[in-house]
C-alpha cells in the first residue's frame, strides 16, 4: 500500500525538514497581523496591493499622548520621551519640525507653481502696483513678512505665505497643542524596522513601556499610546498563553494516555513522531506559501495534536484487533489502509473546507492542517510497521469499563437515543431557523483585547483623532490628472462640505494647476512686473533679483508630482499609491462630517468610492457566515454521495444524521450559553462533520471488532476533545468559538458512534495481546 518510493520520499522530506529547522529556525517569522481576519473579496490586484500598503503603513505607526497639569512639564516630558523612543532600535519619532522642513524642502524648487486661492484671486484681480504695495506693506508690518526661505529667493513673500497657510491648514504636525487642551501633547512614532519575531516585538514593547514609565514617574504626567503594534503584541501574548495551554495540555494528556494504555515507549514514540512531523510540515508549508506562520494558525494548529494522534491509535488498535497469523500473511493491510485512508480523507475534507473561506486566516489554518495531517498520516503508515515489530500490549480493561459505563448511560436504548437526538436536532433547527440564535459579524468582537489597552485607545482617539476611523474615500485612475479631476469634481459637488476632506489636494496642486499657477506668476517676475516695482519702491536696483527671475524662467514646465513629494516626506501616510498601472489615492474624512452627503456625492463622481471598512468587513463576514453554511450543506451532500457510492447502499446516507444532529444541537447550545454565532462556529462545523464521519466510518469499517473499535474511537475522541476542549478555554472569542463548537459537536459524535453501532453482527474477537 505504501510503496518504497513513497517511503523514500517521506524519509528524504523528513530529513530535509530536520535540516531546515536545525539551521533556519531563527528565520521562522510568526505573523501577528490582525488584518488576516478581514475577508478577502478584492479581486483588483492593484487595489489589494494599495490597501495592503496603506494598512501596513498604519500598522507601522503609533501615537503617544502625554498629559499633565502643567504645560512645561508636559512639554519636557514629551521631549524626553521622544528622545528615549528615538534611541530605541527600529523606532523613529516623526517630529513636526522634520515634516515641515521636508515639506518645505520638497516644495521650494517648485515655488513658482504654487498659489493659494487668495493669491490666485489677487493675481487675477489686482494691478502690479497694488500687489507690490501689499508685498511692501507686509514686509514692514509688525510680526509679518516672515520668510521660510532666504529673502533673495522669495522677496515678495508669496511662497512663504503659501507655505505658512499650508502649515496652518494641514495637520502636518503631530503636536496637538491647542488652546483647549494646552496640557496635552502628542506625537507619532514610526517603525523604521518592524520587529518580526514575537520575542523581538515583546522585547520592544517592554522597552517602550519602560521608557514611558520612566517619563511618567520623572515628570508626573500620564502617558498613553495607541497603535496596531500594541494590539498585535497583546494578541500575541494571549495567543502564546493559548498555545502553551493547548500544546502542553494536549501533549501531557496524550503522554499519560499512551503510557497508561500501552505501557511501552514504541507506541508513544510513533505518536509523538507523527505529531512532530505533522506540525513541522504544517509550519513548512505555511512558510513556503505565505512566507510566515500566523499566530492564530499556531493556536488552531496546536489543536491538530489531538487529531494527528488518532492515526497512531487507529493503527495500533487495528494491529491489536487482528491475530498474529493474519498480520504475518498481510491480510490485514488492505483493511488497515482503507480505514486509515478514509479516516484521513474525512479530516482533510473537514479542514480543507476551511480553505474555501475568504478569510485569509482560515486559508492559512486549512493549509497548515491539511499538510500536517497528510504528513502525520504518512508517518504513521511508514513508521507503524517498525513500531509493531515487537508485540504491543494494551491495557484495555479500564477502557472497557469506561465504555461500558458510557454505554450503560447512552446505549441501553439506542433507538430511544437516536430518536431523542433527532427530536433535539429538530428543536434546535427550529430555534436556529426561527432566528433565535444571535449572530455576530463585527470583527472587533472577534478578539479579546486587554481593557487597559482598549481604554487607552479610546482616550487617545478622543484627544488626537480628527478623522473618521475606518471611513475614507478611495480615488482611482490611470493618470495623476484623472485622480485630481475626480477629487476636484468631488470637492466642487460637496461645496462647503469639501472642508471635511483631507486629500492630496491639500498637499499639492494638480500638475495642470501648477502649470496655470506658473503662468499666473508671470505677473510677478516679468520685466517691470510686481517684483521690479517692489524693488524700486524699496530703494534697490532692479538687478538685485536677477537670479530669481532667471530661476523663474528655468522652472518653466517643471511640475512636482505626489510620488516625488512622498519620497521626500516618508513620514506622510501613503495617500498616493501606484500599483498595476493604476493610481490609488485616499481622502480622509474629518470627524463630525456629513457622511451621508459625502457617500451620496461619491456615487456621482467617476473613480471615487466611499469606503466604510468596518461596515464592509462586517458585511463580508456575514456573507462568509452565510456562504459557509451553504458550503457545509454542500459538504454533507458530497459525503452522502461518497458514502452511497462507496458502500453501494443508499441507507448509509442516514449516517450523516449523526454529525448533522450534533451540529444543530451544538449551535443551539453555544447560542444558549451566550455566544453569538460567527463564521468561526460555522467553519468549526466542518470539523464536526469530518471528525464525526471519521468515527462512524471507523466504527462501520471495523464492525467485526466492535469492542476494540469502540476503544479506539473512545481514545481518539478523548484526544480530540482534549485539544478542542482546551481551545474552548481560550481567551480569544474566535478560538473559543472554534473549540467549544467542536467540543460539544464531537462529544455528540462520540456518544453516537459508541452507542448506535451495536447491532452489527458480533464476530469472535481474538485479542492475543490484551490483558
Amino acid at each position: 500500500m505504501i510503496t518504497l518510493l513513497t517511503r523514500s520520499i517521506f524519509f528524504i522530506a523528513v530529513l530535509l525538514s530536520v535540516l531546515f529547522f536545525s539551521f533556519n529556525y531563527q528565520h521562522i517569522r510568526i505573523d501577528t497581523n490582525l488584518n488576516d481576519l478581514n475577508p478577502e473579496k478584492i479581486a483588483d490586484v492593484g487595489l489589494k496591493s494599495a490597501l495592503k500598503t496603506l494598512s501596513q503603513d498604519i500598522s507601522h505607526r503609533f501615537v503617544v499622548v502625554v498629559k499633565g497639569n502643567n504645560t512645561d512639564q508636559v512639554g519636557a516630558a514629551s521631549q524626553a520621551l521622544q528622545r528615549a523612543l528615538n534611541a530605541l532600535p527600529g523606532l523613529k519619532v516623526i517630529s513636526d519640525q522634520t515634516v515641515q522642513q521636508n515639506y518645505l524642502h520638497a516644495l521650494s524648487p517648485y515655488r513658482f507653481n504654487l498659489l493659494s486661492d487668495n493669491q490666485r484671486q489677487a493675481l487675477e484681480d489686482k494691478s502690479p502696483q497694488l500687489l507690490a504695495n501689499d508685498a511692501l506693506r507686509k514686509l514692514y508690518q509688525l510680526g509679518d513678512g516672515f520668510r521660510v526661505i532666504p529673502f533673495e529667493q522669495d522677496p515678495l513673500g508669496w511662497f512663504s505665505a503659501y507655505v505658512l497657510s499650508q502649515f496652518d491648514d494641514l495637520d502636518v504636525a503631530s503636536d496637538t497643542f491647542s488652546q483647549n487642551r494646552k496640557n496635552v501633547t502628542s506625537f507619532v512614532v514610526s517603525f523604521s524596522e518592524y520587529p518580526q519575531s514575537l520575542d523581538e516585538q515583546e522585547s520592544l514593547y517592554q522597552l517602550i513601556k519602560a521608557r514611558e514609565t520612566a517619563v511618567r514617574n520623572k515628570f508626573h504626567v500620564s502617558v498613553l499610546h495607541s497603535g496596531m503594534f500594541f494590539f498585535a503584541v497583546d494578541s500575541a501574548q494571549s495567543a502564546k498563553a493559548d498555545i502553551q495551554l493547548i500544546a502542553v495540555g494536549s501533549i501531557i494528556g496524550i503522554l499519560l494516555l499512551m503510557i497508561a494504555i500501552f505501557r511501552s515507549l514504541l507506541p508513544l514514540f510513533l505518536s509523538l513522531s507523527s505529531i512532530a512531523i505533522g506540525i513541522s510540515f504544517g509550519v513548512l508549508s505555511s512558510l513556503y506559501v505565505f512566507g510566515s506562520i500566523h499566530i492564530l494558525t499556531v493556536v488552531f494548529g496546536a489543536s491538530l495534536i489531538g487529531i494527528v494522534v488518532d492515526y497512531s491509535l487507529h493503527y495500533f488498535y487495528h494491529y491489536l484487533s487482528h491475530p498474529q497469523d493474519e498480520r504475518i500473511r498481510g491480510r490485514t493491510n488492505t483493511t488497515l489502509f482503507r480505514a486509515m485512508l478514509l479516516s484521513v480523507l474525512t479530516s482533510l475534507i473537514g479542514y480543507g473546507a476551511l480553505g474555501l473561506s475568504d478569510l485569509l486566516i482560515l486559508k492559512k489554518v486549512a493549509l497548515f492542517s491539511c499538510t500536517g495531517l497528510v504528513m502525520a498520516w504518512l508517518s504513521v503508515m511508514v513508521l507503524g510497521p517498525f513500531a509493531t515489530r515487537r508485540p504491543i500490549h494494551a491495557r484495555q480493561a479500564a477502557l472497557r469499563q469506561i465504555i461500558a459505563g458510557c454505554r450503560a448511560v447512552f446505549a441501553r436504548h439506542p433507538q430511544r437515543l437516536a430518536v431523542t437526538g433527532l427530536v433535539l436536532a429538530c428543536a434546535a433547527g427550529v430555534f436556529l431557523f426561527a432566528g433565535q440564535a444571535e449572530t455576530n459579524d463585527d470583527p472587533r468582537r472577534f478578539f479579546h483585547v486587554s481593557p487597559t489597552l482598549l481604554e487607552q485607545e479610546q482616550k487617545v482617539a478622543q484627544l488626537t483623532q480628527i478623522y473618521e476611523a475606518g471611513r475614507y474615500l478611495l480615488i482611482h485612475g490611470q493618470t495623476p490628472a484623472a485622480i485630481f479631476d475626480s477629487l476636484n469634481s468631488m470637492y466642487a459637488l460637496l461645496g462647503d462640505e469639501s472642508k471635511s476632506l483631507s486629500s492630496v489636494l491639500d498637499w499639492l496642486p494638480a500638475p495642470e494647476s501648477q502649470v496655470k499657477n506658473y503662468q499666473l506668476q508671470h505677473a510677478l517676475y516679468s520685466e517691470d512686473g510686481v517684483l521690479d516695482i517692489f524693488t524700486t519702491r524699496i530703494g534697490l536696483p532692479k538687478s538685485e533679483f536677477t537670479d530669481l527671475k532667471t530661476a523663474y524662467k528655468e522652472a518653466k514646465g517643471k511640475t512636482l508630482d505626489f510620488t516625488a513629494l512622498m519620497k521626500q516626506l516618508p513620514s506622510l501616510p501613503p495617500l498616493w499609491i501606484e500599483s498595476e498601472n493604476t493610481i490609488y489615492s485616499f481622502a480622509l474624512i474629518r470627524k463630525d462630517s456629513d457622511l451621508n452627503k459625502i457617500a451620496a456625492v461619491s456615487r456621482d463622481v467617476d473613480g471615487v468610492q466611499y469606503v466604510n471598512t468596518l461596515a464592509n468587513a462586517s458585511a463580508a463576514l456575514k456573507a462568509q457566515r452565510v456562504t459557509g453554511s451553504q458550503l457545509l450543506l454542500l459538504a454533507y451532500v458530497l459525503i452522502a454521495l461518497m458514502l452511497a457510492g462507496y458502500y453501494r447502499k443508499l441507507s448509509t446516507i442516514f449516517l450523516l444524521l449523526i454529525p448533522l444532529t450534533a451540529s444543530a444541537i451544538t449551535l443551539t447550545a453555544v447560542s444558549l450559553l451566550g455566544q453569538s454565532i460567527t463564521v468561526f462556529h460555522i467553519m468549526a462545523l466542518f470539523l464536526v462533520l469530518g471528525l464525526g464521519m471519521d468515527y462512524i466510518i471507523f466504527a462501520k469499517e471495523m464492525a467485526a471488532q466492535r469492542e476494540t473499535t469502540q476503544q479506539a474511537i473512545m481514545l481518539s475522541a478523548v484526544t480530540s476533545l482534549l485539544s478542542f476542549g482546551l481551545l474552548a478555554f481560550s481567551s480569544m472569542p474566535i478560538v473559543q468559538a472554534f473549540g467549544s463548537t467542536i467540543l460539544i459537536g464531537n462529544t455528540i459524535n462520540f456518544i453516537a458512534a459508541i452507542s448506535l453501532f451495536n447491532e452489527q453482527k458480533k464476530s469472535q474477537e481474538r485479542r492475543p495481546h490484551v490483558r
Binding site: 504645560t71 512645561d72 512639554g75 508690518q141 509688525l142 516672515f146 522677496p155 502649515f167 502636518v172 503636536d175
Partner: protein
Amino acid sequence: MQIARCYQVLLAGLLFLCMAVPSVFANPKGESEIALLTNLFPQNCHFSGQFLQKKNVEGLPIPLHSTGDFFFSCDLGLIWHTQEPFREAILYVNSSNNFRVHEDGSLTPLTGVTRYIMSNVFVKLLKGDTQYFVDEFAIKLADDNTSVELKPESDFMKKGIDSIRFQKNDSDELGITLLVDVTDVTGQVTHVSIDKIRAYQIEGKRGAFEQCEKLYSDNSAWCQVLRSPAHIRR
C-alpha cells in the same frame, strides 16, 4: 504650523513690551524674574505714544523704517497705527475680534496666522497673566544692567524667537523712551522705539472711548470698532 505660531508669538512679544512701558518706568530695577515681570505689566490701564520701527531683514541690504502711533486701553484694546511709509492700522480688540484697517478705510478681520495671538498670548498679556510669561520666558536684567532680556524657555517658543530685549531711556529732550529689540531664529532683528508716552486717568469704557475719539478724531470709526466689534462683524 509652528513656524507661523512662533512668529505670532514674536509679534505678541513686541506688543507685550509696548504694553509694558508704563510699568517699566515705575520699577526699572527689579531684581528677580517675577519682580521684573510684575513690573512689566501695565499699571496704568490707558496710555498712548509714538513708535519708530526699524526692521533688518536677513538678505535685504537696507533697513526698513516705519513710524506711527498707538493707543491702548484695558477696556477697549489696542490701536497700532502706522503712518509712514504707508498708512495702516491694526485694531486688537479681544481674543476673537481683531482687524486690519487698510488705507482706504476698509476693514479685514485678522485670521490665520494671527489667530494664535488673539486666542493665546495676546489675551493673556492683556489680562496680565504673569504666570504664562514666567512659564514661557526666562526674564533677567541684561549684562549691561540697563536692559531687560526675555529668552524663551519652552521648545515651542525657541522655534521662533531667539530673544527679546528692551531698554528704558529718560532724557530731557525726548522724555521717557523704550527701545525694544526682537531677534528671531532666522536672524531678523526688529527694533522698536517707543516714546512720547502719555498715560490717562480714565474711568470706564465710555471714558476710554472718548479718549480714543480725541486721539483719532479723523478715524473715530476705529474707536467704534474697539467699542462694538461684534457690530462690525455683522
